[in-house]
Symmetry: C2
Subunit: 490 residues, 2 copies
């Protein structure tokens, strides 16, 4: 905030108490996790100008295929209202303000949504409601579905932005469903029931369940059986099922992504109440356009479509952007090529990065989607607590100079996991990041080796624990720069 | 809403009651004033294809100077990320997602805001908060300032969209301050005090006063003294002053526009609490870009800036649009030329239209801003009631085939006034609209003349009343197509 340069001082009047601010202050810049961003902002890595700076691996961006988009734009000057070829549309487009959106835009979005679900479902353009990014879409949807004080169940770990998007304005609560690393973070129906039951006992009105599929931060997709079980649960309890599918087009490997739209499409006549089912979509991750603020609420409930459409007046997509994307996303050939190539590049990058981690003995949760991996650093923790995780995280930022995201910021019930984004940086930077991690792990192992040797003299029990821990960490690892003793020991 | 094509029926489950919907249903498509829009949509005027269709004069758009913008765009291909010259910025811009906005954008907006206030005030880019159009900006601001149930005073007639923008999401109430035609709709401090007093008596918490300056629908600007009086009132009562200045650049004639920013800038050291003062700005009217959804919250209160900035995540402006406008609005030469030429064209159009109306005996409130005039059709009312106004309005839509907006839709306390927009249509369409109005007025006069002749035989009192009414209507008019008797009579 810049200093006030105008004349009047306000020191002799009591400032009117501003509602909402107190509750909002706990988020964003005052979050304990803001340090990582500050560290990056103060000392951002640059290959040439600042090779020792902090590498940004906390940003879930999909930048691997922007060149394909750039080429398309060059080939299609008429798609823009700011080219000689397209300017004749400027007047109409700049003036267009219907909150239903440009018909060609909603049609293209509906088509695109179908395509990234392998054409197994058709989406109705009249149910496509615009919002300001997934942030705005999630917020709008929850506003339509719930009253302040109501609650939604959310499997944890979950995207920390949900605390902002789903709670700030709406006043709803999020009740985390605990997903444990011992079970590869799978959502069990038992855990869902347990959280629901606890809410009932606490007299909290549960309005729905929110699923992120593909999952952020896990990078996994929900299998058909899990989806059916969860849908059956919400349907039986007459609560909403919100499916955040904003990473749908980032699935780069088997198993295939199954959209909730596909499940209810297949389920012909069983009697699932479609009025309770809602999808959130976006182009921020799928296409890599977070700046364009394209979020979509797609509901199977007419009343929700109606309500969200009215609320969408507060966060419509710029018609300049609608117009461009309408052309781009209705170009079948381009979209198909983009989706195939983007998945290919994400897979390659994922393999490179997780492969590099494996070489230094770091495992990630097996994943097939997203622009990040879920890295298991439990073997490097002093103890399995959030404090130890945060301490390790601060060390990674300070010493390794990587801005990664600790699991506790995702409400992860188990300490020691970190989300590391790999699609917002270039290949060379990935190599540098991996080299830094290697150096760090080597040093940690040396420390641990020293401690172990010391402990060996004190207690055999301690020694056994450490053997176990490091076994978990790198069963098949080759650690060339580690001291030879370590290679023998584990 | 399209029919549901997918398989599952939801008829055997009770639909979960959706909050908010009931209260929202009273607006928009269910409004009694929706008829005018429907009439236009069903039968839109086109010079060649549908010359007998409904002319849209209900849309407050500023389309008179788009050609200047188009020329600028052609001259500045680098300003767009979708041209060969500008595509190198595509990657960075499409990925940019900081809710502070592109620094060059907020800087350009601050500069533009200063320029349209004749350089008398400097605006701080760090106080410029983005929102989805004026709609989003107003809503965000009220959310930051008030709790559900709180109230804001609003001089009436006021922009009907306020009922949506300021109330829907926030749950606040609007308390109209009655401005009467007998006083040329001036806001008197007595009327403000009266409304405030009534609210106090009803135990309603008044959080602030909302001013629209220049006024929609009046097309007038607030003079310095009125602004100072109103500011003194809000300051003394420790309530907020929200100034919606989205028509600032549409002032086309004397007196000059005075921004609240100028008042508090001049008022050095008196001790007005600046923390209570907030401005809403936009490019929808000033530049004619409603589709680009650029709304601005500019507050002198750090906490409000902070809160609004966080809320802005739900309605950021597309970075594609930010990037374009950053270039355009920081081009001093262009902006100055645009502002001068736009005002000139608005003045010319206003003169043409109001002059045309005068010729058929219709007067408008004297105005010097906006893209509409406030037309006095009281002489054509059967009686001075809202019902008679709505009846006349329906006649205008059906018979004259003009979609204009009745005063009652603006909460106008006096019946018989209509807002007519003149800057969203071309010159030829204005001529046709004027000719239609002339035919209509002629017919009405003939009817009235017949009624008068009839009444003459019945009552002299009635006759006097009608003479008075028609005198008010057209004191200096030449009405060539009226029956000669009328010319003699008035």
């Amino acid at each position: 905030m810049g200093s006030e340069k105008s004349g009047i001082n306000s020191n002799n009047k009591s400032v009117v108490v501003l509602s909402k601010l107190a509750t909002n202050e706990q988020h964003g810049e005052n979050s304990p996790y803001f340090d990582g961003w500050k560290a990056y902002d103060n000392d951002p890595f640059h290959l040439v100008n600042n090779p020792d700076g902090v590498i940004q691996m906390g940003l879930a961006e999909n930048q691997l295929s922007v060149d394909l988009v750039e080429k398309w734009i060059k080939r299609n000057p008429k798609a823009s209202i700011c080219t000689n070829e397209g300017i004749e549309s400027f007047r109409t487009i700049a003036n267009f303000q219907d909150y239903h959106g440009l018909p060609q835009f909603t049609a293209a979005i509906a088509k695109f949504m179908g395509k990234i679900r392998r054409g197994k479902v058709k989406f109705d353009p009249e149910r496509v409601v615009m919002a300001g990014g997934a942030t705005g879409a999630n917020e709008t949807l929850i506003f339509c579905l719930a009253d302040p004080g109501d609650a939604f169940l959310v499997p944890a770990p979950y995207y920390p932005g949900f605390n902002r998007d789903l709670r700030w304005r709406t006043g709803v609560q999020l009740l985390p469903i605990s997903c444990k690393s011992s079970n590869n973070f799978k959502i069990t129906i038992e855990a869902v029931k347990e959280t629901y039951q606890k809410a009932q006992e606490a007299n909290i009105k549960v309005k729905g369940l929110i699923l992120t599929n593909p999952c952020n931060p896990l990078g996994t997709v929900l299998d058909r059986d899990t989806l059916i079980n969860l849908l059956t649960f919400t349907d039986q309890h007459n609560i909403h099922l919100v499916c955040d599918e904003i990473y749908a087009a980032t699935v780069f490997d088997a198993p295939q992504f199954v959209s909730i739209a596909e499940i209810i499409n297949d389920d012909d006549g069983i009697g699932i109440n479609k009025d309770l089912i809602h999808i959130v979509s976006s182009l921020s991750k799928d296409m890599g356009f977070p700046g364009f603020r394209v979020g979509i609420v797609y509901s199977f409930n007419d009343e929700v479509v109606n309500c969200a459409r009215k609320m969408s007046s507060f966060g419509l997509v710029s018609t300049q952007t609608q117009h461009l994307l309408a052309s781009m996303l209705s170009d079948d050939e381009f979209v198909e090529e983009f989706l195939v190539e983007s998945a290919k590049r994400l897979r390659k990058r994922h393999e490179k990065f997780t492969g590099g981690l494996e070489k230094v003995g770091i495992k990630c949760l097996k994943s097939n989607a997203g622009v990040y991996c879920w890295m298991d650093l439990r073997p490097l923790l002093k103890e399995e607590t959030v404090d130890a995780e945060v301490a390790l995280w601060k060390m990674i930022i300070k010493d390794v100079k990587l801005n990664v995201s600790p699991g506790s910021s995702f409400n992860c019930p188990d300490a020691g996991w970190f989300r590391v984004c790999f699609a917002n940086i270039d290949e060379q930077t990935v190599d540098i990041a991996l080299a830094r991690i290697q150096t760090f792990v080597d040093a940690k192992k040396q420390q641990q080796w020293k401690r172990n040797n010391l402990r060996l003299n004190l207690s055999n029990r301690k020694y056994d624990e450490n053997v176990m821990t490091l076994n978990m960490m790198s069963p098949n690892s080759l650690i060339p720069r580690s001291p030879p003793q370590l290679l023998y020991m584990y």
